[in-house]
Amino acid sequence: MTGLFPGFLILSAAMFSVGAVGVLVRRNPLVVFMSIELMLNAANLALITYARYTHTMAGQVFALIVIAVAASEVVVGLALITGVYRSGHKLNLDELSEMSE
């Protein structure tokens, strides 16, 4: 396990980066939202890795809480995205730019 420790962390970092880049490049709010979830889960992975590594429970608890919070965020987020879609917008973030400067 100890040997794999850096590996999990690197995986976590990679997931985070993929998620972040996803947010940066994708236009569909749903995909962006998924990317954000990916970032959160990257953090979860890191938390759990560290929990194992430091032999503490806090990380695992933390991860559970994050999962719960992320779930509620998804609920709210999807509802919002649906609302936006219903109000006539296409699911394209670039079109949501009425306010600027």
């Binding site: 947010v23 940066l24 973030l93 730019s97 009425e98 306010m99 600027s100 400067e101």
Partner: protein
């Protein structure tokens, strides 16, 4: 002398004209003219009476105790007394105090006496003017100011009087304020006077800050008597005794003379005087003959203890005086405005006086002032009669033949001219003789300064008799001249009184060699002015007398030859020495020179400030800051594109930047 009496009397002398002014001013011109016609001259004559009482009281004293100082009130004092744990600190400190001594009484007599006559004359001259009340208000305040000037015992009040005279003269010159030329002339006079004021108080500063007492302590005083007591030979002026017998005292002398030059219309501050003839003629008589312009002479005479210590400054004074006398004489020969001719004559005569006091002949200078006050006022008032008769025509080319139509005025004017020219028995002869005699004896670079002074005589008699000839002789050259009438009695009377004075006052001081000396005048002033350091020898005096007399007569003969008989062509000088004629006619181009050298640059600079510096630099700086803020704001706001993707990118970018910097720092 009883100080209380003197206090009361001098309060009356100063207070009466002030009250006359105040009543006119506060009533805003609503008083009936008839009332002002009495009060206007009345207050001045009242002051004259009070002065006479002082004079009489003074004569009863022995010569050595004819000076007295009285304090009206403590003006201000910035000194701090010691105590309360702090040392004392001397600051500026001045009283409103009055000096009554022969010199000031002489001045007061002339100011109130001749001034009173001019006031009486004005009642007639200005009778029809709607600004009658205003005129007398100004005249009264002028007299007050002039009296303050000569009576003050502190430098500060000297300066105050000095500047108030400037204001009053401005108000009188610009009296007919609807005439643009009068307005401009008034402003010119005032600004010139202020230049002189500045010189005066800078000189006062130097005295206040540097004069040391007998024990070498700084005196810090503006009390003129204290100053004079400490400034004599062996005085402890500040240690800055440079070359030329004391740089400090020389600087003081020159600065004071700057004030004198402005008042007395001496080069380089002389250009206001001819323009000042825009004022009503009594104003010219009052200001430019009898009082204001002689203030410079008074100043130098009053401050003779300083000038005696400052030979360089005194020499400069004499030099400028004689130079101005010559220059003004030359200009006077070609002018056509009757008042301007007299004005240049004034400038020229004052130049002689300044020359006299410059070389140290204080008494002679003051005597010339005294006689000049009489005959020059006479000339102006007589000219005023002419102008009045001609409905304000002042050009002598439009006159002619007035001797028949205005006989009394003609006689008076001629008497004045004779006195001015220095023809025997008339006042000017005695005073000018004494003046030139002293000049010969005292002048530093003698003969040639003196020679110039004597040469002025020929010019004097030429230009004044040129006026007599052109204006009064021959045939009328204009409609107005045709129908000229003699002036009313009210205007004639003062003229005749002055004519009488111009004839007789010379005998107050007859001092030529070999004759029985009558020295009433110089003896009276001796306690203040002392005796000249040297007197001309009999031979030299006689020579001076003769030369002066011959040249004066020569001038008259020249006029006769040119204008009377036509023996010499009038076009001789214009044709053969055109530059000289132009120089004279254009008043040596001083107005043009000042315009180019001072006025225009100042106005240009002011315009540049208004049109360029203020909007472009001052506002521009703020505007520039504002604009750059706005520009920056516009630049920065474009980061906020409104695209979520950009926001996330920036967010990510800066987070990464933060991490990178962190990494760099740690590695």
């Amino acid at each position: 002398m009883n100080p209380t009496l003197i206090l009361v009397l001098s309060a009356i002398v100063l207070g009466l004209p002030t009250a006359g002014f105040a009543v006119s001013a506060i009533s805003a011109g609503r008083l009936p003219h008839r009332l002002v016609a009495w009060t206007g001259p009345g207050v001045i004559l009242g002051a004259f009476v009070a002065t006479l009482i002082i004079f009489v009281a003074m004569l009863q004293q022995p010569a050595s105790s004819r000076g007295i100082t009285v304090v009206f009130w403590h003006w201000l004092n910035t000194s701090v007394a010691s105590g309360h744990g702090v040392a004392a600190q001397t600051g500026f400190n001045a009283n409103f105090s009055i000096r009554i001594d022969p010199l000031s009484v002489l001045m007061m007599l002339v100011i109130t006496g001749i001034g009173g006559l001019i006031h009486v004359y004005s009642v007639g001259y200005m009778a029809e003017d709607p600004g009658f009340n205003r005129f007398f208000a100004y005249m009264n305040i002028f007299i007050t100011s002039m009296l303050l000037l000569v009576m003050s015992n502190t430098l500060v009040f000297l300066v105050i009087g000095w500047a108030m005279v400037a204001f009053a003269s401005y108000a009188l010159i610009a009296f007919w304020y609807e005439r643009r030329s009068a307005v401009v002339a008034g402003r010119k006079a005032f600004v010139t006077q202020v230049i002189g004021d500045v010189g005066l108080y800078l000189g006062a500063f130097l005295i206040f800050l540097n004069l040391r007492g007998a024990h070498g302590q700084l005196l810090h005083t503006v009390n003129m008597q204290t100053i004079f007591a400490n400034v004599g030979p062996g005085a402890h002026f500040h240690d800055g005794l440079g070359p030329l017998g004391g740089g400090m005292v020389t600087a003081i002398g020159i600065l004071l003379f700057l004030g004198a030059a402005a008042k007395s219309a001496q080069w380089p501050l002389h250009t206001w005087l001819p323009d000042a003839m825009e004022g009503p003629t009594p104003v010219s008589a009052l200001i430019h003959a009898a009082t204001m312009v002689t203030a410079g002479v008074y100043l130098v005479a009053r401050f003779h203890p300083i000038y005696q210590q400052a030979p360089v400054a005194a020499g400069l004074v004499a030099f400028i005086g004689i130079g101005t006398a010559m220059m003004a004489g030359i200009i006077g020969c070609t002018q056509y405005d009757i008042k301007r001719v007299i004005a240049y004559s004034t400038m020229s005569q004052i130049g002689l006086m300044i020359f006299a006091v410059g070389v140290g002949a204080y008494s002679a200078g003051m005597f010339q002032f005294f006689t000049h006050a009489c005959f020059k006022a006479l000339l102006f008032l007589a000219a005023g009669n002419v102008i009045h008769a001609l409905h304000d025509d002042q050009d002598i080319r439009l006159m002619g033949g007035l001797s028949k139509r205005m006989k009394a005025t003609f006689v008076a004017f001629t008497v004045g001219s004779l006195a001015l020219a220095g023809i025997p028995i008339f006042a000017g002869f005695f005073s000018k003789e004494e003046l030139l005699g002293s000049g010969l004896a005292l002048g530093p670079a003698v003969p040639w300064l003196w020679v110039v002074g004597v040469l002025v005589n020929v010019l004097t008699s030429f230009y004044i008799f040129r006026v007599v000839w052109i204006a009064f002789r021959g045939e009328p050259r204009s409609e107005h001249a045709e129908h000229a009438h003699e002036a009313p009695l009210l205007m004639l009377l003062p003229v005749l009184v002055l004519a009488g004075l111009a004839t007789v006052v010379g005998f107050l001081n007859v001092d030529f060699a070999g004759f029985a000396p009558i020295t009433l005048f110089s003896a009276f002033l001796k306690p203040v002015l002392g005796v000249p350091a040297a007197t001309a020898s009999d031979t030299a005096g006689a020579l001076a007398l003769l030369a002066g007399f011959l040249l004066s007569v020569g001038g008259i003969v020249l006029v006769w030859a040119v204008y009377g008989r036509g023996l010499i062509s009038r076009e001789l000088v214009p044709n053969h020495l055109p530059w000289l004629y132009q120089l004279s006619f254009r008043k040596f181009y001083w107005d043009e020179i000042y315009d180019v050298a001072l006025v225009r640059p100042t106005v240009s600079l002011a315009t540049v400030i208004r049109r360029v510096i203020e909007p472009e630099v001052m506002d521009g700086a703020l505007g520039g800051i504002r604009d750059s803020i706005a520009a920056l704001a516009d630049d920065f706001r474009t980061f906020q594109t409104g695209f979520l993707k950009d926001y996330a990118t920036w967010f990510f970018f800066f987070a990464v930047v933060g991490l990178v910097i962190l990494g760099l720092r740690l590695s």
